[in-house]
Symmetry: C2
Subunit: 486 residues, 2 copies
Amino acid sequence: MPAPATPALDALRARLAELTDLSLLGHLAAWDQRTMMPPAGSPDRGAQIATLSRLHHERATGPEVGEWLDALDGASSELDELDRDLVRLARRDYDRQKLVPGDLAAELAQAAATGQDIWEAARAAGDFAQFAPALERNVELARAYAACFDGYAGPYDALLADFDFGLTAERIQEVFGALGESLPPLVAELSARSTPPPLEPPIAAQEAAVAAVLRRFGVTEESWRLDLSSHPFSTNVGQRDSRITTRYEDGQLESLLAAMHEFGHALYDRQIAPELARTSLGDGTSMSIHESQSKLWENHVGRHPAFAGVIATELTAGGFPVDATGVFATLTAVRPSLIRVSADETTYPLHIVLRFELERALVEGTLSVADLPAAWNDGMKRLLGVAVPSDADGVLQDVHWAAGAFGYFPSYALGCLIAAQLWETLESELGPQAGPLAEGDVTAIAAWLGDKVHRHGRRLDTVPLVESVTGRGLDAAPFLRHLGSR
Amino acid sequence: MPAPATPALDALRARLAELTDLSLLGHLAAWDQRTMMPPAGSPDRGAQIATLSRLHHERATGPEVGEWLDALDGASSELDELDRDLVRLARRDYDRQKLVPGDLAAELAQAAATGQDIWEAARAAGDFAQFAPALERNVELARAYAACFDGYAGPYDALLADFDFGLTAERIQEVFGALGESLPPLVAELSARSTPPPLEPPIAAQEAAVAAVLRRFGVTEESWRLDLSSHPFSTNVGQRDSRITTRYEDGQLESLLAAMHEFGHALYDRQIAPELARTSLGDGTSMSIHESQSKLWENHVGRHPAFAGVIATELTAGGFPVDATGVFATLTAVRPSLIRVSADETTYPLHIVLRFELERALVEGTLSVADLPAAWNDGMKRLLGVAVPSDADGVLQDVHWAAGAFGYFPSYALGCLIAAQLWETLESELGPQAGPLAEGDVTAIAAWLGDKVHRHGRRLDTVPLVESVTGRGLDAAPFLRHLGSR
């Protein structure tokens, strides 16, 4: 006879709450490290974060957790729908963690740390050969990690599950295939247009515009922080404690795009239903849905022609007189370039298509590390028409592979696609947003996203969520239509 | 046959390192809460801190810790001196925590939280009666807590051990008795002197002076932060990550005194010998020694007549022209007053003498909560010659008793006394410091404190440490001489 569900559920809920607290403390430790910590605090911080993550793992995989889950598996008829989902996700997380031997987990963590150090030196030296052995080791470990899991069509699918549960390489290949075909001619066409020189607002005007735009989005000091960091990011330290960062460089508008992007991530975390807080359901559901939220605010709100007027008003108020046309032209200019993180809205996904192809081939063993730089350079030529002058600005530019993260990249482009899908549905349900956006009013957009996407937390995985909101699966067409309308 | 020492020692050291990490994460969470956190983050932060402290307690008192300590008790001849001390302190901490039943610990935590809420409302209303039941409960629980420990002459000594291990109420009474006799006439004499009106530098000048003085003390952005908080404090988030705060009010010099005070705390944490880090020895040894470090920098460096010239220079450079005489007069003015936290150097310890008398009597049952306000008002009259107009500015002013902290107050005055003892010894060994201080040079002072006090961490308790440095036990005479020299 199975044990009664209630004590096991109470115990599981208490543990999940504890794990949430440890995760949020990890968010705080990482936020502080990137925004506030004096540099000399680094070694101690490393130890603190390692301890947190070791304790999190221990508490998430203790045998008692397995016993509670076993008791609950036999009692699912006694649970309401929310608790059934809670148990389902807790089981999934537990099983995935339990399947990885402790030694392998330690090796992965160690190799990721070493890999990043070596990568940093290799990138500075522009010397891929220096990085190659560490990358080979990371690929090998990623395969060993993938082999821990059954039921996947290939190793890449097993890796994807950590970032986007339920997604397959095959499905991504179909969607990215469409991009790889349709985008390059569009890029060629749009980048050939003559555009005015980009706006170059000074930092003070950017700061004023960032603050004013975030205020219009509902950001208050009561519940948010905006800080500086060398790479913009967003983190939640509590459901009502949202922290986003941006960075300012003279004569750019990236500070504004970054702030809107990070706002989108933060709003997702904030609008998860309160009853999911401190459970296995109280997080964003996947990397690509998270990225779709940041991209929606960056691409569809921030780059909307109607919203350009608001930005122009705020830059002007900040001492940099400009009109909407100039803002819109700067924010939507198309220029194929070498570096992913500074790519424009149109070319950005092509950088990801390349990385997906390459990392999948590495993991599946059809591309050797030695052949990677040449494959990279070929791909940049094919997809973006760009010649790569050095590995530092080519294959060595991103930290992900050095850190052992394979399967992460696709979410960046999937986020762009899903954002466009959601935006089409949003406008079909709420009507065109040009009117409210011209007034800087995003209330209906935020509420719609809260209702359709955010409140569900992890209850729906990537594809079911997209299907439930849009009535269709993953689809590149809305994104291509969005760009075509430029 | 006892188990071999080495595996037990390795295991114990690993656990102590983990406990250190959890403590430092707690420091970070508390620092953030007081300096950075958006107010709406408060409930989640409360949960995070509670989880950290529960996990710390669990990991500190697990049965495996007892087994390691048992194995090491039988093997102390195999250990070097440092490891023997490490085991001795680990055993002390473990035994003290194990002696407190979990239910009582939970009740204490709960009553402390409730007590603070009730106190806040009662203080705002100036209504002691509203607070009395919570205080009665806290006194009762403090007695129950004290009763967990054997071998103390009375309950107050058992409570003291949490703050100043080895100190007794009897010894404190002797020392404070000397203060209670000698200080009031000195206060009467000094406060009767005619003094110039206090300096009233604007905030900008204070900020400039605080930054400049800390720079002279060796504070760099590489390894320190200075922030604002409503009550100044110091915390270490890592041995090379020191965070201090101050607060600015127009027309005051408290910002400067607070910054120097908090610097003293931080320097203690920073100069603990690196080989003690992440062990049971790697902290300040007691509340009163910690306070002696802050008071030394506040009273003996900051208020030194020679250093007044440095402060004058920096205030002048900050746009507030002033001379050393004016600074010195402001920093050493004597004015009996109602509120402990804004009391001057001379009257401050009398506020503590009163609190010690009262809390000891409460805990020993010779004073009832109902009689406390009258006893408070009598004591203020007797010790400071001050009439208390309302309980809000009297018995309700401090949070300590509301939070269940009995035995904490003495360290504030002991810190003043020990600072004066250390300073006399320092000057007898290094020579008078007027010369270096006139130049703003504190190098020799910091090095001497590092060698005599800081590097030992918890290896020496309060009294043995004072004896080892000064050749005498606790003694009020140096502090009285220090004031007499004004």
